[in-house]
Structure formats: structure tokens, C-alpha cells
């Protein structure tokens, strides 16, 4: 509350400052007109070894800002320490390097448009920079309620324009994911490049067609697998398996839009009612049929909570937010399920129908019953043999080594491959060696220099390399709670000084597109091209600072006249 009111006062203060400047003699700067010298600013980044690209980007940025007269240093911190500072001590840092990663459910812009910048999540939620703008809040709320796609698109584009104007983040790049596969094993025509996600996606896993005797896909991840639980979002790699073992009513298509999957059709009856017709003849992996009761249960189970020892215990805290807006879900026909929503929610198809895993009631009801009276979530549960209805069946999981799934021949979209074998390989160089030797025939994750991969593709014609722009993005987050970052003009000036083309080339080796929006250009339907902006204009950056009253005195930047440094000199 105090944060908001203080912000408004400050905003008013800068406006007055600008007026004062206009009435004065333009272009003549003197020490008398300037406020305090701006303190030394600290830019937090992960160590160079942990995230080379972001660290290099930080170095380029710091160089440019020093030319503006800003005293700034990079402070490297391991991830846990950085999170602790940025997330849990929201008024104690100046700036940090940060990123948002792409995920299928982020194909709908709602999550990023609402959660990143809505003022309601500034105190403890995703809006960690503390951006507060009632105009933006209104748009973020409106787009949620607007079920007409074209109208919603207009709102989303407006929201992007506001962010481009206010620069609460200094967007840097939309990175590209570079992955590869062995074309001696997989028919290139059957590999699907999903918008914003890349070739490692559910569609590829279902459609990939073996051309020779090798019928197994052997792919890698560099992350440990934590869990295979349809009621727990446990990690990026884990979600690859969850998507294959369990079906959903809809799935995110190659172009990023939701399409019916276990539902034959999905229809908005009115802004708060959706009707789904379910496919016939679906079966769980244990042979039992998928019933309407199972499907209703799949949407009610994540919402379960219970009072245990005076505390509200949610059984599936990860999935609960996605079903919270459902007032009622029920079978309204032999194959029809109807959802009644509490209020209109345009991203419902993506954020709920394409997100919630369909789970067998006969497996999960007893598990949930067993938790009654205990302060535990269902997230701890690991089925000995996960049972879904999806295109792949669970075979085996050896921790820190591999996960094996096999094709479900009874599925309507039965995969072409025989087995899907995920190898856990923490060593980057070994990963490349394995791909080269054919020990891997699909590169599922690669965090190294994409250039190395491209070179390998040139040398070995059977290694096909594919780069895809991510729907995630890399950025510098300024802390808007602290001076001088509370001033949009100051932020615009800093952002103008960053040359994004140069950055994409130098730090990301060309495997990135310049970014200036929280909606990626990998989502062309929602992306607003008018936000496209390279920056890198030092003269313009100086002009903006000058106009807003900032003064460069003997190489050091000072606040506008009358502004004190509240955080020590």
C-alpha cells in the first residue's frame, strides 16, 4: 500500500521536474540544477560458468551504461542466492538478469501478460519488479474476460505497447533453441517443429517415423527426472513424460493454439459455459475404459482441499489454480462434459483444458482417501506404475539414468516408434559424443554453443540441426521500487542504450532474435510487431536523460534537481 502511494508521489515528482526543465534554458546543464549523485548500482547475474550468455550480455550492457555516466558493477551469484534476494527480499536489490522460459501452456499469452505485470502479484507473486500501472491492470484483466479472439488480440497488443513504452523490463532477446536428430533413424518429414517450443515436443514423439531397423527413440536430458505424477508440476523434463503418459482434453498444436485431443470437439456455449464431446473407446493403460466419471474427477481432484490442524491443506497446489475458475463440471450426456465457469476466462482452453491431465478415478480416489486428515499433498505420491490413457505407456524409471516408455498400440494416435528412451546425461560434451556415435538419435536438450552443433551438422550429413525461436525471453529486471528505476524516462534511456542486435550476435552467437515484448514473436497471432526495437542509440539515450533532468557531471550521472539519493551514496 505504502509502495503504491509512494510511487504515485514519485511519478508526480518527475512530471514536475520535466515541466521545470522546459521552462528553464534547454541544453545548459550546471551543477546547481542537479540533484544527488546516483549511487553505485549493482546488477546481479548468475556466474559466467552457470550462464555464459546472460553473463556476457550483462557485460555488454554495463559497458554501454557506464558511457552514460552510470556507476555500475556486476555481482555474480549462484541461482539459489539470486532467487533468495530477488524473490524474497523485494526491496533490497537494484537490478538482476532474469529469464522466462517457454512452456506449451505459455502459448496463450495470459500467463505472461497477467502474472508478470499485474499489480496484484507485485507483493509476493510473479511481478517481482513491482510494476504498478492501473491502465495496464485493466487490460490484463480485460483480456482474461474477452472470449472473442479478435477483440482479445487487440487488447493483448495494447498491453504490449504499454510495456514497450514503460519499459518495466529491459527485454534483450528471444533465444533460439537448437536441437538435432539423426536422419538415418528418423524420417525428417515426420519431425514436427512446434512454434516457440522446437522439435522436441509431443507431436514429434507421436509422429516420428523410423526409417530403418532402429525403432526406439533414444534422447537425452541434462536435468534429473524428479517425478511422474499427473497432479504435480515437478520440472521441465518431467513434463515431457507427463504429456505422453496422460491424455488431456485439448493439446497445444504446432502453431501454439489449442486443438481438441481427448475431446472430439470443444465449444463455447456462452462466455461462461464450455461443452466438450469426448472421444469414444478410450482406455486406461491397465485395460479399464475411460469413463465420464473419470473425466469429471480429473477436474475436481486438483481442487480438493481440507482443514487439517487449523490449516488449509491443498492436495494439488500446483494444479489448483488451473481449475479454480470452474464452478461446476458435469457429464450432461453419454459423451458430453459441460464446464460452467465462475467468470469468463478466455485462456481457459489453453490453461485448463490443455493442461489438466486425465486421471483414472480408480487409481487416484483411494490415494486421495488415504491422505484424509494428513497435512500432505498428493505431490509426494509416485505410482509404482503410472497409469494414464496417453499414447505412451510407462515401462521403467531408473533414477539419474533413464526412463523408458513404450507405444500404446490401442491409442487413437498410436506412436510410430516402439520405445521412447530418455537418457539422463549431465555432461554436455558426452551428449555431443553420443549423438555423433549414434548412442543418441535425438537431441532432447542442449545448453552448449549452438555453433558447435551446426558445425557437426555440416560435417555429418545425417545429423539434422533445427533452430526454433523460444517463446521465453531474456531480460534485465530493474527494481521499480527503488530510485532511479521508478522513473520511466530513466528506464527508457537505459533501455535505449542497449544494442539488441549486437547482443544477439555477441552473447548468443546469432541464435536469438532481438526482443522488446513479453509476448514472443514465436506467437505471431499475439505478437505486436510495432514493439520491434533494436535500441543501441547512445545519443538518443543521452537526450532522454537530459530531457528528464538527469545530469552528467564529470562523468557521473546525477538525479534531476531536488532529488535525493535515498539508498546511500
Amino acid at each position: 500500500m505504502t509502495g503504491i502511494s509512494r510511487r504515485y508521489i514519485l511519478k508526480a515528482g518527475t512530471a514536475l521536474g520535466a515541466v521545470g526543465l522546459l521552462s528553464g534554458l534547454p541544453g545548459i546543464a550546471s551543477a546547481q540544477q542537479a540533484g544527488d549523485r546516483i549511487r553505485k548500482i549493482v546488477l546481479v547475474a548468475r556466474p559466467q560458468a552457470a550462464d555464459t550468455q546472460a553473463y556476457q550480455a550483462a557485460e555488454l550492457i554495463v559497458q554501454a551504461w557506464r558511457q552514460l555516466g552510470l556507476d555500475i558493477e556486476i555481482r555474480a551469484m549462484p541461482r539459489p542466492q539470486q532467487s533468495e534476494l530477488v524473490w524474497f527480499n523485494r526491496d533490497r536489490w537494484d537490478m538482476t538478469m532474469w529469464q522466462m522460459v517457454g512452456r506449451p501452456e505459455r502459448s496463450d499469452p495470459d500467463e505472461l501478460v497477467f502474472n508478470l505485470f499485474h499489480s496484484s502479484v507485485a507483493a509476493r507473486g510473479y511481478n517481482f519488479v513491482g510494476y504498478v500501472n492501473p491502465e495496464y491492470d485493466r487490460l490484463a484483466e480485460q483480456q482474461r474476460l474477452e472470449t472473442d479472439e479478435e477483440k482479445r488480440r487487440t487488447i493483448i497488443r495494447q498491453a504490449q505497447e504499454i510495456i514497450a513504452r514503460d519499459q518495466p523490463y529491459f527485454f534483450l532477446v528471444f533465444p533460439k533453441w537448437t536441437l538435432a536428430y539423426d536422419s538415418r533413424v528418423w524420417d525428417p518429414a515426420s519431425i514436427v517443429d512446434q512454434k516457440g517450443i522446437g522439435i522436441r515436443n509431443t507431436w514429434t514423439f507421436i509422429q516420428a517415423r523410423p526409417v530403418g531397423s532402429q525403432q526406439d527413440m533414444i534422447l537425452n536430458t541434462n536435468e534429473e527426472v524428479r517425478r511422474m505424477n499427473p497432479l504435480y508440476i515437478s520440472g521441465a523434463t518431467d513434463s515431457w513424460m507427463t504429456e505422453l503418459i496422460w491424455d488431456r482434453l485439448m493439446r497445444i498444436d504446432k502453431d501454439g493454439r489449442p486443438v481438441p485431443w481427448a475431446a472430439e470437439s470443444v465449444r463455447w456455449v456462452n462466455p461462461t459455459r464450455i461443452e466438450c464431446v469426448i472421444r469414444e473407446g478410450m482406455k486406461w493403460h491397465d485395460g479399464r475404459p475411460v469413463t465420464m466419471e473419470d473425466i469429471v474427477f480429473s477436474f475436481t481432484a486438483p481442487a480438493l482441499e481440507e482443514e487439517v490442524g487449523g490449516r488449509r491443506v491443498q492436495r494439488s497446489p500446483n494444479y489448483k489454480p488451473f481449475v479454480e475458475n470452474i464452478k461446476e463440471v458435469k457429464a450432461t450426456g453419454p459423451r458430453t462434459i459441460t464446464f460452467d465457469l465462475k467468470e469468463p476466462q478466455s485462456p481457459f482452453l489453453t490453461s485448463t483444458l490443455a493442461k489438466i491431465n486425465l486421471i483414472p478415478k480408480h487409481v487416484w480416489q483411494p490415494i486421495l482417501d488415504g491422505l484424509k486428515g494428513k497435512p500432505e499433498t498428493v505431490e509426494q505420491v509416485q505410482e509404482e506404475r503410472p497409469i494414464g490413457s496417453g499414447p505412451f505407456k510407462y515401462v521403467r524409471w531408473r533414477t539419474r539414468e533413464e526412463v523408458v516408455l513404450e507405444r500404446n498400440p490401442e491409442h487413437w494416435a498410436a506412436p510410430k516408434m516402439n520405445r521412447w528412451i530418455l537418457r539422463i546425461v549431465p555432461n554436455q560434451e558426452a551428449t555431443l559424443g553420443m549423438l555423433r556415435r549414434g548412442e543418441l538419435n535425438f537431441l532432447g536438450a542442449y545448453r552448449g554453443d549452438p555453433e558447435v552443433l551446426v558445425e557437426m551438422g555440416k560435417e555429418l550429413s545425417h545429423i539434422r540441426v533445427v533452430s526454433t525461436t523460444d517463446m521465453g525471453f531474456q531480460f534485465v529486471a530493474p527494481n521499480l521500487r527503488r530510485k532511479p528505476f521508478d522513473d520511466p524516462a530513466f528506464r527508457r534511456a537505459l533501455s535505449t542504450a542497449i544494442n539488441r542486435t549486437q547482443m544477439a550476435q555477441a552473447a548468443w552467437n546469432g541464435f536469438a532474435d532481438p526482443a522488446n515484448s513479453h509476448v514472443s514473436n514465436a506467437l505471431p497471432f499475439w505478437f505486436n510487431e510495432s514493439t520491434n526495437w533494436i535500441g543501441g542509440d547512445m545519443a538518443e539515450a543521452r537526450r532522454i536523460l537530459e530531457q528528464a533532468g538527469y545530469r552528467n557531471i564529470r562523468g557521473r550521472l546525477h538525479y534531476p534537481a531536488g532529488v535525493r539519493e535515498p539508498h546511500g551514496g
Binding site: 549462484p78 502474472n115 517425478r227 499433498t377 539414468e401 546425461v425 558426452a430
Partner: protein, 327 residues
């Protein structure tokens, strides 16, 4: 070994374990970062965050957490992983056999080679063989493990294709039981490179130890006596001197088991070996206290027990060392 002295030794061991457990408990709770950091990306509400903290008892005062930890420990309950949401005990048990196999295999290679080569080099004291041998031993001992591992991978796997590039078994390999998996040719083919890397790193100690012991023993009266008896040089080195020089090496072996169980992080990462070291590293970086505590505890127990074994072994092997009260 006297009963009273043995009891004292066991009592010491218990004290060391208590201290280790207490330090471990405090260490992870005083480190920067909380287990909640792992959830940052899933937009938890404050209530959800509190629920998670409560669920793992992290909302309790520190002393209470400590008591609960001990109570659980006495029941053999190491707690549940924050990260994997699984019993720590089973997580450890999935990793431990692989680590033990890697450790034992490489220790045996290292010590058999080290003992023989050490005796040989002592015998060849002052010759050109020693002049070449010692620098080679020192260089290989000092080479960083990850570098050595990568060189082995590049040579024997990527180029020559003799060995697989990582993991403990071939992709998708099926085995009827855990034991049959670990006794399969496939497992040993995967074990070869990491074990060799680790062995190369470990061989320096037994080799140099053996060599210096041998040089010492060779000065002893009983060796001079053997020479006077006209025994062959080989018989003197192997049957008389080496047996006596072996004592400290046996101790080092027992201690080596203790220290290498937890020290394989680098080799395990380079060769994607599914062992305890990797579990430990990921647990520490994710602030997964129960797993990190459990893994360190397991390592400490092995180490402390192996110390005890080394002591006892020494007393058994060397009649000069007794554990009676006043020597």
C-alpha cells in the same frame, strides 16, 4: 585389541557421528536460499508457500526441527526429499550400489597396480626406470579428473568406439533383477572408463606409500639377514619385504573406501554415472536438506566405520600395535 579400548573407540565413533549430524543439520539451514526457490517458476501463492514449509516442518523453530530430526533418525527415517518427494532412504539406496561398484572396482585396480608398481619401483631404486616412473606417477596423480575423464571419453569412446560414452547400462537394456544388472557384461563395459579414470587418480597414494615403505623395510635387519642367507632378490622383495611394507597400504585402502564413496562427483558427472555424488550435488544446489543430509550422513558413516575398520585391521595385521591401555 582390549575390550575397554575397543569400547572407547566405538564411543569415539559415536561422538564423531553425533557431531557430523549436528553440523549437517545446521549447515543446510543456515545456507542462503530456501527449498522454496525450487518452486519459483510455478507461481505459488503465499498460502501455498506456507503450506509447503509447514509440510516439511520448516515453519517450526530450529530446536524443534532438530529434535524431530533426531526422533526420526532413531526410527531409521531420513525424511522425505523436498525435491523428489520421495523417501530419502530409497533415493540413497538407488544410488549407493552404483557408487559402491565404481569405488570398489577402481580402488582394487588402483591398489593392486599401486602395490606391485610401488614394490617394483623401490626395487629399481636409482635406475632410469625410477627416473621415468616417478614423474609419470606424479603427473597422472595430479591430472584433474574431469580432464582425464574427457580425454578417455574422446579417445576410447568417441574415436575408437570401444566403450560407451556414459550411463551404467545401455539404453533400454532389460534385466530380471538389480543383481543381474550389476553382474552383466553390459554393466562392466559401462563401468570400465569411469573406473579407470578414478583408478588412475587413486593409484598414486598406494604406489608412493608402498615404495617408501619398501625402501624403509629394505634397510631392516631381517632383509639383510635374508640376503646373507643367499635368498634370491625377487624372493626377498616379494616374500619378505613386501609383506611387511603392505601394512600401511591396507590401512590406506580401508580409509580410501570411506573417502572415495563421496568423492566421485566429478567422475560421475563426466560419465553420467548414476551414483551418490550426483545425487548429493543436485540436492545441495536445490537446497534439498533431507537428501543432502542423508547423503552426507551415509558418506560419514562409511568413512567413520572404515576408520574403525582400519584401526582394527592394523591391530590384527601388525602384532606390534596393541590397543591395551598403555601400549
Amino acid at each position: 585389541m582390549g575390550g575397554r579400548k575397543l569400547l572407547m573407540r566405538v564411543w569415539h565413533t559415536a561422538f564423531v557421528l553425533w557431531a557430523v549430524i549436528t553440523i549437517l543439520f545446521l549447515m543446510f539451514r543456515l545456507m542462503p536460499g530456501t527449498p522454496l526457490d525450487a518452486y519459483l517458476d510455478s507461481s505459488l501463492t503465499p498460502e501455498e508457500q506456507e503450506q509447503i514449509l509447514a509440510q516439511f516442518g520448516l515453519d517450526q523453530p530450529l530446536w524443534k526441527q532438530y529434535l524431530i530430526y533426531w526422533a526420526n533418525l532413531f526410527q531409521g527415517n531420513l525424511g522425505k526429499s523436498f525435491h523428489y518427494r520421495q523417501d530419502v532412504f530409497w533415493l540413497l539406496m538407488a544410488a549407493f550400489p552404483n557408487t559402491l561398484a565404481l569405488t570398489m572396482f577402481s580402488l582394487i585396480i588402483a591398489y593392486v597396480f599401486g602395490v606391485l608398481a610401488g614394490a617394483f619401483l623401490a626395487w629399481k631404486r636409482g635406475t632410469w626406470i625410477e627416473g621415468i616412473g616417478i614423474p609419470i606417477v606424479l603427473t597422472s596423480r595430479a591430472a584433474p579428473e574431469f580432464w582425464l575423464g574427457m580425454v578417455f571419453l574422446a579417445m576410447f569412446s568417441f574415436s575408437l568406439g570401444w566403450f560407451p560414452s556414459g550411463g551404467a547400462n545401455s539404453p533400454g537394456a532389460e534385466f530380471p533383477s538389480e543383481l543381474s544388472r550389476m553382474l552383466s557384461a553390459d554393466f562392466f563395459r559401462h563401468l570400465a572408463l569411469p573406473a579407470l579414470t578414478l583408478a588412475l587418480y587413486l593409484q598414486g597414494l598406494p604406489l608412493l606409500l608402498m615404495r617408501s615403505n619398501m625402501l624403509e623395510v629394505m634397510q631392516e635387519d631381517f632383509v639383510t639377514m635374508a640376503r646373507m642367507k643367499g635368498l634370491s632378490e625377487w624372493s626377498i622383495v616379494m616374500r619378505h619385504a613386501a609383506r611387511n611394507a603392505l601394512l600401511p597400504v591396507a590401512t590406506a585402502f580401508a580409509l580410501g573406501i570411506g573417502s572415495s564413496v563421496g568423492g566421485n562427483v566429478v567422475v560421475e558427472t563426466v560419465f553420467s554415472w548414476p551414483g551418490l555424488g550426483r545425487l548429493l550435488v543436485s540436492a545441495v544446489s536445490a537446497a534439498d536438506y533431507p537428501v543432502a543430509q542423508g547423503a552426507f550422513l551415509l558418506i560419514a558413516v562409511v568413512q567413520v566405520v572404515m576408520n574403525l575398520v582400519a584401526d582394527i585391521l592394523y591391530a590384527v595385521l601388525d602384532p606390534r600395535v596393541t590397543h591395551t591401555a598403555h601400549g
